[in-house]
């Protein structure tokens, strides 16, 4: 469904209020508004489109169930992010217990057998696509290698465009913690990708 326009803060508040009173259509509009943002965030956290879809759906379902308790102390979007973040972190921790050596290169298993992790890329020439694909795999791997607390902040700030203040609210940590985690995350990411950058895989303007 194509989005007609970006909803204003007032539109969101009205939709939330209507949804709290049981208006399913209003909640549907909220889902439309936030589904891509939340899915992208969860997908980056988990690097698995199937799990990302499940977790994103569960985040919206939990939000709907919890709407009667939503008092508007935080904005709807930080509240929604917080629900999604908690669910994604749960999955990350569960994976750690089950698969201590989670690898992006390994095929995934399903009921239908094994399949490769899906990383779509349809831009440029075959050679470009190959290089771009390798770069993206390397970046995704580097993100996945970050401890979840650093990964969360890195994704929210760098890829989702959230502010320090909103991230502090989403993760329920002090502002200083957000900044220090981001600093550490950038350092670690730089270390992971250093060889690739230095080898000239990418032209970097100086």
């Amino acid at each position: 469904m194509a989005k007609a326009r970006q909803l204003s803060q007032q539109d969101i508040e009205e939709l939330v209020e209507r949804a709290r009173r049981g208006d399913g259509a209003a909640f549907g509009q909220l889902v439309e508004e936030y589904k891509d943002k939340i899915y992208n965030y969860v997908s980056r956290m988990l690097n698995d489109p199937y799990e990302a879809e499940d977790v994103t759906q569960e985040a919206f379902l939990r939000a709907y169930r919890s709407l009667p308790r939503f008092r508007g102390a935080s904005s709807f979007h930080t509240w929604l992010y917080r629900i999604a973040s908690n669910l994604a972190i749960d999955v990350v921790r569960k994976r750690k217990r089950q698969e201590p050596t989670y690898s992006l290169d390994e095929p995934m298993e399903s009921d239908d057998g094994e399949y490769e992790r899906e990383i779509p890329d349809d831009t440029g020439s075959p050679e470009d696509r190959s290089t771009t694909r390798e770069t993206r795999v390397a970046v995704r791997r580097a993100i996945m290698e970050l401890p979840e607390k650093l990964r969360d902040v890195m994704i929210l700030y760098e890829l989702q465009g959230e502010t320090y203040e909103d991230i502090a609210e989403i993760l329920n940590v002090p502002l200083g913690t957000v900044k220090s985690r981001l600093f550490n995350a950038r350092n670690r990411l730089k270390e992971s990708l250093e060889q690739l950058v230095a080898a000239g895989e990418l032209e970097v303007e100086s």
Partner: protein, 176 residues
């Protein structure tokens, strides 16, 4: 300014020399190692921000709304079952307990139907999940049919609580 201080600044601005303080810029002019550090940071930033955004799959919103509708339907039927079991003048806690009992009985009945290989006539599968099947009758059973059904349910003894038996089928009936 030390290399360590300059590198902390570089991390803050992803290696962009335009945002550095004058002291850091002067340091960069004479320190090859820090210039290398700045280049790696800029490259890392470009790589990170070149990741394309991903969108939720087609039909995502409809899927969420359908799931909500299922849950609401389920809540509605269990509440009605509770009403059939408990006189209106009893306390809400008694009523809540009775609703639980009604669900358990319906579950036992569902297992029985499942054992015969198909759902009762006039009943269709409403929703499926890994942990079982939820069904509602369409068209709804009559009061007499429901009474008979409940008698049969009451004749069954649950040997396991619901939570320990994820494989059962949950069948909820409603009257015409």
């Amino acid at each position: 300014m030390t290399c360590e201080e300059v590198r902390a600044e570089l991390v803050e601005c992803w290696g962009s020399t335009e945002q550095l303080t004058t002291a850091a810029t002067e340091h960069l002019a004479i320190c090859e190692n820090c210039r290398y550090e700045a280049r790696i940071l800029r490259g890392t930033s470009v790589m990170l921000h070149s990741l394309p955004s991903e969108s939720a799959p087609e039909g995502f919103t409809a899927g969420v709304l359908q799931q909500i509708a299922r849950e609401q339907a389920q809540r509605g039927w269990t509440a009605r079952l509770g009403q059939w079991f408990v006189p209106a003048n009893q306390t809400s806690w008694t009523r809540a307990a009775a609703v639980g009992a009604a669900i358990a009985l319906a579950v036992a009945g569902g297992s029985m139907w499942a054992g015969r290989g198909s759902l009762p006539e006039g009943t269709q599968q409403y929703a499926g999940s890994a942990s079982g099947t939820i069904a509602v009758s369409t068209p709804a059973a009559t009061e007499a049919e429901l009474d008979e059904l409940l008698r049969r349910h009451q004749a069954l003894q649950m040997t396991q609580p619901l939570a320990d038996d994820p494989g059962v089928n949950l069948v909820v009936y409603t009257t015409k």
